[in-house]
C-alpha cells in the first residue's frame, strides 16, 4: 500500500539507489551514512542519506541507539522512586520531566499542591527552559561555525546549574520535584542568587543577539533553510518552537495552563518564516519571556509549606521523626513499601523546552505504576527529518538538525 509516510525508510533508499545504478545514462547516487557518532547529531542519531552530488535525494533517520528501557524500569519502581528516572530521559530538561511525572501522579492521587511549591516549580521549570535553550544555542552555533557563542552561552548555563545545585544538591539530575511538592525547603539565600541572574540575563541575551542576529554568515547559513510546511509538521507530530516558528501559537502553558501558569504574564513568541533563522529568533524571544516569568515568580513567591499536607505520601520532617512516633512510622512505610495510588489512568502533557512532553500513567492500585508511557517531544519532532531535509544541500542538514533541538535520550528512552 502506497502511503506517503513522511519518514523515508532505509529500504526505500536502497531501492532508489539500485534503480539509479541500473539506469544507463541516468544520474547515479551515493549512499552516505551520517552518524551515529557524528558531532552535529548531538548524541547517537544515525542518518542514511542518498546523495546526488551535494543534493540530498532521500534521508532516513534511524534511532534507538540510546534505548535503556526506562518505561520498563518505571514498572519496577515505586511512584516516588520513579522521579529519578525522569531526569535521565531528557537530560537537558530534568525539571520539566520531574514536573510532568509528578503532576500525573498527583492527578491520580487527587493531591493539591501548596502555592509555594507551585511557584517554585514554575520558576525552576523556566530556568530549565533557559538551561536547555542555552545548550541548544551554543551547540547549534558551533555546528554552523560560530565558535564563541558556545562560551558565552555556557557561562550563563553554569550559573543556572549552580542555582539547581543550591536547591537540590545536584547540577543536572535534580529530582527536586516530588509527588506532593518539593524534595527540600528553599535553601538560604536563594533569592539573591536568582535575582542576580535575572538582573543580568537580559543583557546577556542581547550579547548573543549581537553575535548572531545580524551576522551575515549566520543569516546566510540559516535564512530560508530547513523549511517544512505547517501541515506536514502537525501531521508528523511536531510540537514546540518549530511549530511556533511557522506561525502556530501552540504552547501548552497558554492553551492548557497547568501549575499556575495562568497567573503569570508572558507572551508566546511566533514567527512566520518557518526556517532555521525563525526558529532561532523564536527561542531567543522565549528566553526573554522565561526571564520575565522567573522574575514574577521571584517577586511574588508565596510563603507556606513546600509540601502538601498528605501524611503517608510525602516524607515527614526530620525533626518530627525524632519526636513523634507517627512520623517515624510514616517514614518507614513510605521508604520501604511506598504508597498506594488509586486505580485509573491519566495523560498529563506540559510544554517542555522542546515541545509537548506527555506522561501516560496507568495505575492498578498498587505501590508501583502498572504502566508509564513517555511521549518525548524529540521523538515526534524527529519524524519530520526526512520531509525537512530532502531536496536540500548536505551542508544545510547540519543547520536543519540543529534547529530541531532534539535530545536522543528523549527519543530513545
Amino acid at each position: 500500500m502506497a502511503v506517503n509516510t513522511g519518514v523515508t525508510t532505509e529500504l526505500e533508499i536502497q531501492r532508489d539507489h539500485a534503480r539509479r545504478e541500473g539506469e544507463p545514462g541516468g544520474t547515479r547516487s551515493m549512499v552516505l551514512n551520517m552518524g551515529p557518532q557524528h558531532p552535529s547529531t548531538h548524541g547517537v542519531l544515525r542518518l542514511l542519506l542518498e546523495l546526488d552530488g551535494e543534493t540530498i535525494l532521500k534521508a532516513a533517520p534511524d534511532i534507538g541507539y540510546l534505548h535503556t528501557g526506562i518505561e520498563k524500569e518505571f514498572e519496577e519502581k515505586t511512584y516516588q522512586q520513579g522521579v529519578t528516572l525522569t531526569d535521565r530521559i531528557d537530560y537537558l530538561a530534568p525539571l520539566s520531566n520531574n514536573l510532568v511525572y509528578c503532576m500525573a501522579a498527583e492527578k491520580l492521587l487527587g493531591l493539591e499542591i501548596p502555592p509555594l511549591a507551585m511557584w517554585t516549580r514554575v520558576m525552576l521549570a523556566e530556568l530549565t527552559r533557559l538551561n536547555s535553550h542555552l545548550v541548544w544555542l551554543g551547540t547549534h552555533a558551533i555546528d554552523i561555525g560560530a565558535m564563541s557563542v558556545f562560551l558565552y552561552a555556557f557561562r550563563e548555563r553554569e550559573e543556572i546549574l549552580r542555582i539547581f545545585e543550591m536547591f537540590s544538591g545536584q547540577r543536572m539530575m535534580t529530582s527536586y520535584f516530588r509527588i506532593g511538592g518539593l524534595a527540600l525547603p528553599h535553601p538560604r539565600g536563594w533569592q539573591k542568587r536568582v535575582k542576580d541572574f535575572v538582573d543580568i540575563f537580559s543583557s546577556r541575551v542581547d550579547e548573543y543577539e549581537e553575535l548572531l542576529t545580524n551576522n551575515r554568515i549566520w543569516t546566510g547559513r540559516t535564512k530560508g533553510v530547513g523549511y517544512i510546511s505547517i501541515e506536514d509538521m502537525l501531521d508528523l507530530g511536531v510540537t514546540g518552537p518549530m511549530l511556533r516558528a511557522a506561525g502556530l501559537p501552540l504552547d501548552l502553558r497558554k492553551d492548557a495552563p497547568y501549575c499556575g501558569y495562568e497567573k503569570f504574564d508572558f507572551k508566546v513568541p511566533t514567527r512566520t518564516e518557518n526556517d532555521v533563522f525563525a526558529r532561532y529568533l523564536v527561542r531567543i524571544e522565549e528566553m526573554r519571556e522565561s526571564r520575565k516569568i522567573i522574575q514574577q515568580a521571584l517577586e511574588g513567591m508565596p510563603s507556606g509549606s513546600h509540601q502538601a499536607d498528605a501524611p503517608g505520601i510525602v516524607l515527614p520532617e526530620r525533626e518530627k521523626m525524632k519526636t513523634q512516633m507517627e512520623a517515624l512510622i510514616y517514614h518507614f512505610k513510605i521508604v520501604t513499601e511506598g504508597f498506594r495510588v488509586p486505580e485509573g489512568e491519566v495523560y498529563q502533557a506540559i510544554e517542555s523546552p522542546r515541545g509537548e512532553v506527555g506522561c501516560y500513567m496507568v495505575s492498578d492500585g498498587t505501590q508501583k505504576p502498572y504502566r508509564v508511557h513517555w511521549r518525548g517531544p524529540s521523538f515526534g519532532n524527529l519524524q519530520a527529518t526526512s520531509r525537512m531535509i530532502e531536496g536540500t544541500l548536505i551542508a544545510d542538514v547540519i543547520a536543519a538538525l540543529g534547529s530541531m533541538d532534539f535530545v536522543l535520550g528523549d527519543t530513545d528512552r
Partner: protein
C-alpha cells in the same frame, strides 16, 4: 454502546455508532472502539471532530487477562483545546490492528515502537520493523511476561 453518562458529551456522542464503551474520569475522555473500527474512528476524529494532532500511540499489557493488549491513542484538538483517548483491545493470541498511518502520519514511529516493545502487529504499516531494539532481538521487552532481570539482560 456508550455509557449513559456520556450520551450528552458532544465528542463522545459523535462516536455513538462506533463506541463499545467509554468513560470520563479525572477530566479525561476515553472512548473504546472495536479494533476493526479503529481507522474509521480515527478518520471521524480527525475530519469531523477536528482533532488535528495525534500525540502518541502506546499499548498497555493486561496479561494474563484477555483481551490482553489495550492499544491507546491520544489525540489533541488544537482549535478546541481538547484531548481524547481512543482505545481498542486486541487478543494476546493474535495481536493485530489496522495501522493509523493513513489517517495520522505521526503514528508511524509510535506504531513501530509498539510493535517492537509489545509485539502488536499494525496491518498496512509502511515500515513495520523494530525501532528501539536491535533487529535480531528476541521477544518484546515491555510485555508483562518478559523478565526485568535475567542471565541475558
Amino acid at each position: 454502546m456508550l455509557p449513559e453518562a456520556l450520551q450528552n458529551h458532544a465528542v463522545a456522542a459523535a462516536f455513538s455508532g462506533l463506541a463499545t464503551g467509554g468513560k470520563f474520569e479525572l477530566a479525561e475522555l476515553t472512548v473504546e472502539v472495536a479494533p476493526e473500527n479503529i481507522v474509521a474512528a480515527m478518520t471521524l476524529a480527525r475530519h469531523e471532530l477536528k482533532f488535528e494532532r495525534l500525540s502518541t500511540v502506546t499499548v498497555v499489557d493486561r496479561y494474563p487477562t484477555e483481551p490482553r493488549f489495550e492499544i491507546v491513542y491520544h489525540l489533541h484538538s488544537i482549535s478546541r483545546k481538547e484531548r481524547l483517548r481512543l482505545k481498542a483491545r486486541v487478543s494476546g493470541e493474535n495481536p493485530e490492528i489496522d495501522s493509523a498511518v493513513p489517517v495520522y502520519r505521526a503514528a508511524d514511529w509510535y506504531e513501530r515502537e509498539a510493535y517492537d516493545l509489545f509485539g502488536v502487529r499494525f496491518l498496512n504499516h509502511p515500515d513495520l520493523r523494530r525501532i528501539m531494539m536491535p533487529d535480531d532481538w528476541e521477544g518484546h521487552p515491555l510485555r508483562k511476561d518478559y523478565p526485568v532481570t535475567g542471565p541475558r539482560y
